[in-house]
């Protein structure tokens, strides 16, 4: 049992969980502060149990604050809210309405070297954010892993300092997503857990571990169960919850298919015991969603989750837990300092994210969707995992086919075909 008194964000999630509700959350960020503020206010008023999100733009993510400032001056469109370029005054105003409405807000970014971003979070008293030394480096940058690890160490320590201001900061690992697709669950579960341990080692006491919906409901339920079990084993005493991401890969193009997939993720949250769900909208395959599209998705997911009970029986066991555990143990053996262990693990290939082009990732592993429609390894690289079949040569059309597996299935389903 955790003895940590969580901050507003984690407390809201815990309270909803006690009521049996899944918290739904948008991925939302706009460059214009008025739009951002209105977006938060609208989410707060939606008919769903929500928390707010400020998603940062890509210039801010890579530390190009000057480019963000120029875009603001020129009126060039931004794909998120430039928290550093806007500065504290504007950010406070944006947060004010959400705070007045009692809705906690999380800042989501995707930055391998987030010092400036954390300074802004601290200056604005933002008690929840997201990231991780691996999950915000490999998918998001060309920054060497060692530098990202060192930067995240400093940022975790600084963020833990919010406690002195009377607020327990909350940090979510993005490790359960990585590149969003074609990664078998064992590795996703292992990375998010290791990042949780890294956060704890650097002073955080309230963390969430993530998992992104993949290609098969039963496999996903098994992965979430594995994550629950590993949290109990490796992160005792912390305030923790599991956050699920609605599918993070190539999304269905049709509205019906998109909603069907969103609904499936809401049911998965219930079956897998996830406390919080980050939703996607029918705009996903096409462009950044509007505020209204976000609210519709939140309300839809919330309704589906509310109508769904927990899973009927215990999850199956095809080895996700054992795989994740083997990966975690292989990493922890490398060094007591988890950051150093992570760097060594990638150098040795004990962790190897499939299809990831980052220079510190060996790139020897490959995931694929097997004949039963589940994720499996076709090439394990040097990881302590088992390959289901020999590698096949990767072609451009084969890659597109694998990447569009979920999209095609749900667009067909949306068009009225039932799945086989």
């Amino acid at each position: 049992m955790s003895t940590v008194t969580p901050g507003p964000f984690a407390a809201a999630v815990a309270a909803a969980h006690r009521r049996g509700e899944v918290v739904v959350q948008p991925r939302m960020g706009f460059g214009d502060p008025a739009v951002m503020r209105y977006g938060l206010a609208t989410v707060a008023r939606s008919r769903a149990c929500t928390v707010g999100t400020i998603t940062l733009d890509s210039y801010t993510r890579v530390g190009a604050h000057e480019a963000a400032r120029r875009a603001l001056v020129d009126g060039a469109p931004l794909n998120g809210f430039p928290i550093v370029a806007h500065g504290t005054g504007i950010t406070r105003e944006v947060l004010a309405e959400a705070r007045a409405g009692g809705m906690p807000v999380q800042v989501r970014h995707g930055s391998a070297r987030p010092e400036d971003i954390f300074a802004a979070l601290l200056a604005n008293g933002v008690d929840a954010t997201e990231g991780g030394p691996v999950s915000y480096c490999l998918p998001y940058s060309r920054v060497p892993l060692r530098e990202a690890v060192d930067s995240w160490k400093r940022c975790c320590a600084a963020y833990a300092g919010l406690r002195e201001a009377g607020v327990e900061p909350h940090l979510e690992s993005f490790g359960g997503c990585l590149l969003g697709q074609l990664c078998p669950p064992g590795l996703l579960v292992a990375v998010t857990l290791l990042e949780g341990m890294f956060f704890a080692q650097h002073g955080l006491r309230s963390v969430s571990l993530s998992y992104a919906q993949q290609v098969d409901h039963d496999q996903d339920v098994e992965a979430l169960a594995a994550l629950h079990r590993l949290i109990g084993e490796w992160l005792p005493g912390l305030d923790t919850h599991i956050v699920l991401y609605t599918y993070m890969g190539v999304y269905p193009r049709t509205r019906a298919g998109a909603l069907e997939l969103l609904g499936a993720s809401a049911r998965l949250a219930k079956h897998g015991g996830a406390c919080r769900l980050l939703v996607k909208t029918p705009a996903e395959a096409h462009r950044i969603p509007t505020i209204a599209e976000n609210v519709t998705a939140l309300e839809y997911a919330s309704r589906v989750a509310a109508a769904e009970g927990p899973a009927d029986g215990p999850p199956g066991d095809t080895g996700v837990y054992a795989e994740a555990r083997a990966l975690i143990e292989a990493v922890l053996e490398l060094d007591d300092d988890i950051g150093t262990a992570l760097c060594r693990a990638f150098a040795k290939g004990y962790l190897d994210v499939p299809y990831c082009l980052h220079a510190d990732n060996r790139g020897e592993s490959r995931g694929f969707i097997d004949e039963r429609g589940r994720l499996a390894w076709s090439a394990p690289g040097r990881m302590p995992v088992r390959a289901a079949r020999g590698g096949v040569e990767l072609t451009s059309s084969g890659l597109l086919l694998a990447l569009s597996h979920v999209q095609r299935g749900f667009d067909r389903m949306g068009a009225g075909d039932r799945p086989e």
């Binding site: 890579v62 469109p77 890659l399």
Partner: protein, 142 residues
């Protein structure tokens, strides 16, 4: 043995970290007979230029899907076109280039004026791109 293939330099704009598009284009260009230099994600414009100087490409392919492709792609093309070594080298851009869905005609014209020879909007017929990249290979072979 000497590599006689044409070289394509492939990359994205400085703020864009999406890599599946790059992975796909690397495979596709490879299948088309190119030697591909994949610069990866978040390529600073200066580094892009430096790599082009070093590899003397026959084709430059910029792919961006994060919504900043229009703004940053424009500046990147202007920079690359300042280098005489890239004079006449075909340069294309494609992907999800704006934050509000497909670019309008003026925006596409801006990218062409900045130095791209072709702009492939998201959802455009892949055959157009294949026709385009086939051209330099044929010139070389003939």
């Amino acid at each position: 043995m000497k590599d006689t293939r044409c070289t394509a330099v492939l990359g994205t704009v400085a703020s864009d970290s999406h890599m599946w598009n790059l992975m796909f284009l690397q495979l596709l260009l490879g299948e088309m007979g190119y030697r591909v230099v994949n610069l990866g994600v978040c390529v600073p414009a200066g580094f892009f230029l430096e790599q082009c100087r070093q590899h003397r490409p026959d084709l430059v392919v910029v792919s961006s899907v994060n919504g900043h492709g229009y703004t940053e792609g424009w500046a990147l093309a202007e920079l690359l076109r300042t280098d005489p070594a890239l004079d006449g080298v075909p340069m294309v851009i494609g992907g999800k280039l704006g934050t509000a869905g497909p670019l309008d005609e003026t925006q596409t014209a801006d990218l062409l004026a900045a130095g791209f020879d072709a702009v492939f909007a998201d959802g455009s017929d892949p055959r157009q791109f294949l026709d385009f990249v086939r051209r330099p290979v044929l010139v070389e072979a003939g």
